[in-house]
């Protein structure tokens, strides 16, 4: 069966090269057809628009009878993708896998996952909470991450070389961070604590300052 696996993967790579319409790109990492890098553009009308996302692809031994292993190489702010490791929570990469699915169709599914996040089945609980609390604030952060990490368009034009703003990165308000920093806490710690508490949108009113200080003292 080993040659069938190779034949299939080679065909999939070739198909992807020939297909210009889907804008899905697959290339080899370290010359093995079983370790690939897929990439696609962030879908329009989403906070990911304009970004260029790389995905690490590992073809398992028993492919296509076992799902491919995929994770984001590009950092992305999305409820179903780990903001730290890039691990993806998507049913077709697990039990809903079918041998007829291909690398291309899977990457397209990933692309559409960016259009329709499922915060109720999250990979990254903090991001999902952010999404559910304030979608506008979440989108702003996601857009910012797209700009910083995925080369997306920034408000100020060129994103390259721009100093990363930790506060925007965490999807927080500068005023809130400044408020607690002025109490004498380290800025990094304040950002961490506020992120953990999901200090955003309507939640700000629900969390009193004592709770924040308690978290900061932990």
């Amino acid at each position: 069966m080993a040659d069938a696996r190779l034949r299939r993967v080679n065909k999939e790579i070739a198909d992807c090269k020939n297909d210009k319409s889907s804008h899905i790109n697959i290339e080899l990492i370290d010359n093995s057809p079983f370790h690939l890098k897929g990439s696609f553009k962030g879908p329009e009308d989403t906070p990911y628009a304009g970004g260029h996302f790389d995905v690490d692809i590992v073809i398992p031994e028993s492919y296509p009878f076992q799902p491919v292993k995929m994770k984001f190489l590009t950092k992305i702010y999305h409820p179903n993708v780990s903001s730290a490791s890039g691990a993806i929570c998507l049913d077709i990469l697990k039990d809903a896998w079918s041998p007829v699915l291909t690398l291309k169709s899977t990457l397209i599914s990933l692309q559409s996952l960016l259009c329709s996040p499922e915060p109720n089945d999250p990979q990254d609980a903090e991001v999902a909470k952010h999404y559910l609390t304030s979608k506008a604030s979440f989108e702003e952060t996601a857009r910012y991450w797209t700009m910083v990490y995925a080369g997306g368009p920034g408000k100020t034009g060129s994103a390259a070389g721009q100093k990363q703003d930790e506060v925007a990165m965490a999807g927080l308000e500068k005023a809130h961070v400044d408020q607690f920093e002025s109490l004498g806490f380290e800025r990094g710690k304040v950002i961490d604590a506020l992120r953990r508490l999901n200090y955003r949108g309507a939640n700000v009113a629900k969390i009193n300052d004592d709770r924040v200080v308690e978290e900061l003292l932990k």
């Binding site: 069966m1 069938a4 299939r8 028993s62 009878f65 079918s98 041998p99 007829v100």
Partner: protein, 557 residues
């Protein structure tokens, strides 16, 4: 299980035709509980109060029962055996639910269960045969039915092979092979090459332990019938056997009267209807042995891989949980911490002076005497007020809270001690073996006459197991007369076991060997009796509801 019930059950399967001809409905009336398959239990053997009634069953026996179920559904619904098997598996072998839904909407059930594709005109051969089996003589046996189906599928396969799509060469979408030698498809007609099917099924069976194999196409829920799986796996009998085992496992898992033997690669099942309900587990400890080997002993009621008699599953589980959480931690807490004398928070002192301020209640006290710091005045860094009344009180409060920890450790240490001894028993067996050989050489005793040693050792290990769990039991028993009686029995057994242990391990003396033999034999009998008493009395107590717990135990009110 009443005997007339069994009879009716057997009668039913034997005189299948008769009943079917009379009335379909009567069959389901008789079988109110779909899972009572009339397993006979060891009824004639007299059971002790701590033993349960159960029956070990081989894979073959379960397969036969499954076949009966399948035949029943096959006849009732007028489908072939493979379809009946799929339907039953889809409904987790709940026959009543299946019949209910099927009579309501046969096509809908078939679509949901992945037997036939939704709202697509059936290929003429298949549909005609179905109509035939509906209208034809209901009695048509399984054999005839399945051979018919086989013929049918064969002709279908042949048609496929001789007439490939003309326009473009067929390529298997899985392995990208053009014109594969052989292709197969399920009822949905999604065609794939046979070697891909084989790899796919092998992967499902081997790696995912899955008995429900659906079509490889995306979002296609059509399930592979057994015949299809068998055909595909024709060259892999090992995988096919594994698949059959998975079918049995699924059946067993769906039936609460049955449990699969947890020992690795064992294929036996145990039927124990008396322990099938959760409430029954408050009165019995269903330790069973599967038919494969007497060492395959396990509890039917829970996952503890130990003979945890006499204590019931819920309490045993509670105890193990506690041990896992607490034992090491508790030891550490005992040696390294003290409790705040005011709010009882546990405090570890890891440096600094003896002036402690409780983080929680802000109480200030002295670490040495546990008395309030205010009374220490200016005597910082040294405590000279050990005997003051306040500090005595504080130490009293502390010792009270320590007492519960001490109590737990008392039981835990004894429990662990017996467990440790049980672990060492392998060594002890080897040692005893040697001793027995020595005896045969130095004395007039024959091989058969020295077996008393092994017998004694067997008894000791068995009793250590009982003793071990009596400590878990005693920990949760409410103090009172009942508990005292329990502990008296426990003490008698423990003393006897230790004495016997000592006798077994005592050095051999040629002159007194007959004397020793007498002593050991007597003691073994005594120990055996004490063990019986503990087990029987405890089991009887559960049946009478005599035991009261000092905390809430799952299942007891």
């Amino acid at each position: 299980m009443s005997s007339d019930y069994e009879n009716s059950d057997n009668e039913y399967f034997e005189d299948d035709d008769e009943i079917m001809d009379e009335d379909d409905g009567s069959a389901s009336d008789m079988e109110v509980d779909g899972f009572d398959n009339g397993y006979k239990t060891i009824g004639n053997k007299r059971l002790k109060s701590y033993e349960v009634d159960y029956e070990p069953l081989s894979q073959k026996q379960i397969e036969d029962t499954m076949k009966n179920e399948i035949d029943y559904i096959s006849g009732l619904c007028g489908v072939d055996a493979d379809v009946a098997s799929l339907l039953l598996r889809y409904f987790d072998w709940n026959r009543e639910k299946l019949v209910d839904k099927y009579m309501d909407n046969a096509d809908g059930v078939k679509t949901n269960a992945g037997v036939s594709p939704p709202e697509k005109p059936e290929p003429s051969t298949a549909s005609s045969s179905q109509i035939e089996s509906h209208t034809g003589p209901r009695r048509s046996t399984r054999r005839a039915n399945s051979s018919e189906a086989q013929k049918q599928s064969k002709t279908k396969a042949i048609i496929e092979r001789i007439s490939p799509p003309v326009e473009e060469p067929y390529m298997c979408p899985i392995c990208c092979d053009y014109n594969p030698t052989d292709t197969r498809s399920l009822a949905c007609e999604h065609k794939f090459c046979s070697s891909c099917w084989s790899e796919y099924i092998k992967n499902k069976v081997r790696n995912e332990a899955e008995q429900w194999i659906t079509c490889m196409a995306e979002d296609c829920n059509i399930a592979a019938p057994n015949q299809f799986v068998q055909d595909v796996l024709a060259e892999d009998p090992a995988v096919w056997n594994r698949f059959k085992e998975l079918l049995v496992r699924h059946y067993v898992a769906s039936n609460k009267n049955l449990k699969y033997c947890p020992y690795p690669s064992c294929t036996y099942t145990v039927s124990c209807p008396s322990a099938s309900s959760k409430s029954s587990l408050t009165t019995i400890v269903p330790i069973v042995t599967c038919g494969a080997s007497p060492t395959h002993k396990f509890c039917f009621g829970c996952n503890i891989d130990d003979d945890h008699r006499p204590v019931v599953c819920a309490a045993a589980k509670l105890w193990l949980q506690k041990c896992q959480d607490d034992s090491e931690t508790a030891n550490w807490i005992k040696t390294n911490t003290k409790e705040c004398s005011k709010c009882q928070s546990t405090i570890e002192k890891n440096g600094g002076c003896n002036h402690m301020t409780c983080k929680k209640c802000k109480y200030e006290f002295c670490w040495v005497c546990m008395g309030p710091w205010s009374e220490h005045g200016t005597a910082w860094y040294s405590c000279n007020r050990y005997d003051e009344k306040a500090s005595i009180e504080a130490r009293d409060a502390q010792s009270r809270s320590r007492a519960s920890l001490e109590r737990y450790l008392h039981y835990y240490n004894r429990w662990a001690n017996h467990e440790q001894s049980a672990k060492l028993s392998v060594e002890l067996y080897a040692k005893t073996e040697k001793k027995m050989e020595e005896m045969q050489m130095t004395s007039v005793l024959t091989w058969i006459e020295v077996q008393f040693m092994k017998k004694a050792l067997d008894e000791v290990s068995k009793c250590r197991m009982t003793l071990k769990w009596t400590y878990a039991m005693a920990y949760y028993l409410e103090s009172g007369n009942e508990k005292e009686l329990f502990e008296d029995n426990q003490r008698d057994l423990e003393r006897a076991v230790e004495e016997l242990s000592e006798l077994i391990e005592s050095p051999l003396d040629t002159d007194t060997i007959t004397d020793l033999r007498q002593k050991v034999t007597d003691k073994t009998v005594y120990v055996q009796k004490r063990n019986e008493i503990v087990l029987e009395d405890t089991a009887q107590g559960f049946q009478d509801g005599r035991w009261k717990w000092n905390c809430s135990v799952d299942g007891f009110d």
